[in-house]
Point group: C2
Chain length 386, copies 2
């Protein structure tokens, strides 16, 4: 029943995407139920929180860059609106990003990224190691140069989740903590979701926002998303230690990417260090090798963190798509909408995803930048519905 | 009221020493109350569990070696008795210890330890790197040589704590989970303990087994024990990874000591890696630098652990004495007995400490090996009771 913003909408998945979609749809007139056995957990809870369209830009992924730039431009208003709904700050941290390079190979790779950004007309400031340290005194002497990208800010993911939950409450979104087994349709249109306990919730439309688990919910999504494990560490500043950076610090250390995102709000650790990348199915084990790599590489860039407390080590599963573009929009039977496959860019793409999903639910055109994310661009895998 | 094994005994501190003392005293006729807001926690919960009189032997600490050898000889009967009381295995792991060396400086230091043990008449088997790997295939190629010490076994500290708690229940020991503020005496003899909530428990004798916090409880103990922080990691074997060693593996890596103690019983991690050493007062923060050192050094010796899960990182406070010998026996007013200051050797010294304390409570002579641990060998610091 797409096109009638007054129907019943079920959203399986109460991560950051599901929460933002539920809030926006409820504000648009839908009666919304979020269904998730563990709201605000999973990849959204683990995320570093970088809003980094530019420093995540890779040659050949211009559609993703355009989508990210569209979304990052929406972030200040989105954060302000969610903060107003929630009654507390949603955690947007406006300071930008610096990218640091250590070895000569790392510097060459960073130069190539800067040249690519130049060719796209994106402003990039090239900095020596000394200039970087003037911006961020926490950066150590092994860093020989880098770039500054003021337009890539960050968000405190856990604060955002709390604010989105409060905003959903305010908007009248219901939360059901049972597990969704499958989206149900009558061959033409969705009729609701079947729950793990055998129950069912009837709906006129379903937005699948179940991250890496999305393909399990409907054959139209089969094989379109896979879990990409990422481990992160949360560090806390201790008295006497060097203060954390103000900006996100990304780096290449002997070819390995590492980042450190400061959290302005205390209580969940002052610095998030991430992230490893591994494809091992639905495994969320934190490994010795992963923690060792993150600590070693982060210390090369920010040596003062040796005196920080290590307060958390945790892994999440990014929902990886085949072409690194998310899947946002109508797919399969009438009333089914995908909002998944965001990979490393989930936090960044929250505002544009919510806007595109609400448009799709209305039957309106999605924002231009979201058109390449149409899920119908890819064929589902020939997997029988279990 | 020492000498009457029928009185009321209060034991502040329900770590492994307090629990073992309480069990033994109750079995000897005392009506025992253990007082601890968090029984079976602290250093006892964090401990690696090595029972290592020989591989902890240092020139100049022959009294400690003799005490450790006395205690390790008591361990099999002690473990069997506690297991019988508890109705389940107390966690003694009879496999011994190998000590590995990496760099040439490490090998020289290990040779000096072996020579020292030879001079004491302790049997030591010198091994090449290849011979070590034949014993323990988990040991990596960076290890160039080492020694085997079959007589230094280990105990699963958390299993031991559970067994001692069950044994205390069986023996009729009462547990009070309020905090002890001070041992109270009338100028001549102890009369009980004052609690943090203002209450009091009257007693004929008090055994202070409060680890690093012991000096806070009576002026006679002032300054005799200090907190020595140690961080440990608990790793869990994952399918496909190299199996953990069967023996305790100790090593010197570029001069830094590291150990890995296998746990035969699953559920709390398969391998305990430790331990850092720091003196920062009562700080139990797990630091980035501590975890980095442990991972780096342990991986040098056991490279297969890179694929293990890192399941826990935690710090405890060893109760360090001035001369590394524990404080076991009567001190201060009549009825006051110390059982603290065990430093790195708490697990090892449990059986001899329990035996010596029961003897002291009876007014009997303590075991010969425990005589150098008489607390009256050292003067308390001139600290006024607060």
């Amino acid at each position: 029943m797409i096109g009638h913003a007054t129907g019943r909408l079920v959203v399986p998945g109460a991560g950051v995407i599901g929460l933002a979609v539920a809030r926006a749809a409820a504000q648009d007139g839908w009666r919304v139920t979020l269904v998730d056995p563990a709201p605000a957990s999973g990849a959204s809870w683990v995320a570093g929180g970088m809003l980094a369209p530019v420093t995540e830009a890779w040659p050949g992924e211009e559609d993703l860059l355009a989508l990210g730039l569209d979304s990052v431009a929406r972030w200040p208003l989105f954060a302000a609106a969610v903060s107003a709904d929630a009654g507390f700050d949603a955690g947007l941290h406006p300071e930008g990003t610096v990218v640091a390079a250590t070895g000569s190979g790392d510097r060459a790779e960073l130069h190539a990224l800067a040249d690519h950004l130049d060719s796209l007309g994106r402003p990039v400031q090239r900095l020596t190691g000394r200039e970087l340290r003037r911006l961020e005194p926490a950066i150590g002497p092994d860093v020989r140069g880098g770039i500054s990208v003021p337009g890539d800010p960050s968000v405190d993911n856990r604060r955002l989740l709390a604010a989105l939950r409060a905003a959903c409450d305010r908007a009248g979104v219901a939360v059901d903590t049972r597990a969704v087994a499958a989206v149900v349709d009558d061959g033409t249109a969705v009729t609701g979701v079947r729950l793990g306990d055998g129950g069912e919730i009837r709906a006129d439309a379903v937005v699948v926002a179940a991250g890496a688990h999305s393909p399990e919910l409907h054959p139209a999504l089969a094989g379109l998303v896979r879990p990409v494990k990422g481990e992160i560490l949360r560090l806390a500043h201790r008295p006497g230690a060097l203060p954390p950076p103000e900006r996100t610090v990304r780096a290449l250390v002997d070819g390995r990417p590492v980042y450190a995102v400061p959290r302005a709000v205390p209580g969940h650790g002052d610095l998030v260090v991430g992230a490893t990348t591994a494809e091992n199915g639905f495994d969320t084990t934190v490994t010795v090798g992963g923690v060792r790599d993150l600590l070693r590489d982060a210390e090369r860039v920010l040596p003062g963190i040796a005196e920080y407390a290590l307060v958390e080590a945790v892994a999440g599963l990014r929902p990886g798509s085949r072409d690194n573009l998310p899947l946002i929009g109508r797919i399969g039977p009438e009333g089914l909408v995908a909002a998944t496959g965001h990979g490393r860019n989930g936090m960044l793409l929250v505002p544009v995803t919510a806007a595109a999903v609400v448009a799709a639910l209305r039957g309106d055109a999605v924002p231009d930048a979201a058109r390449p994310a149409d899920p119908r661009r890819v064929e589902p895998a020939a997997v029988e519905r279990s």
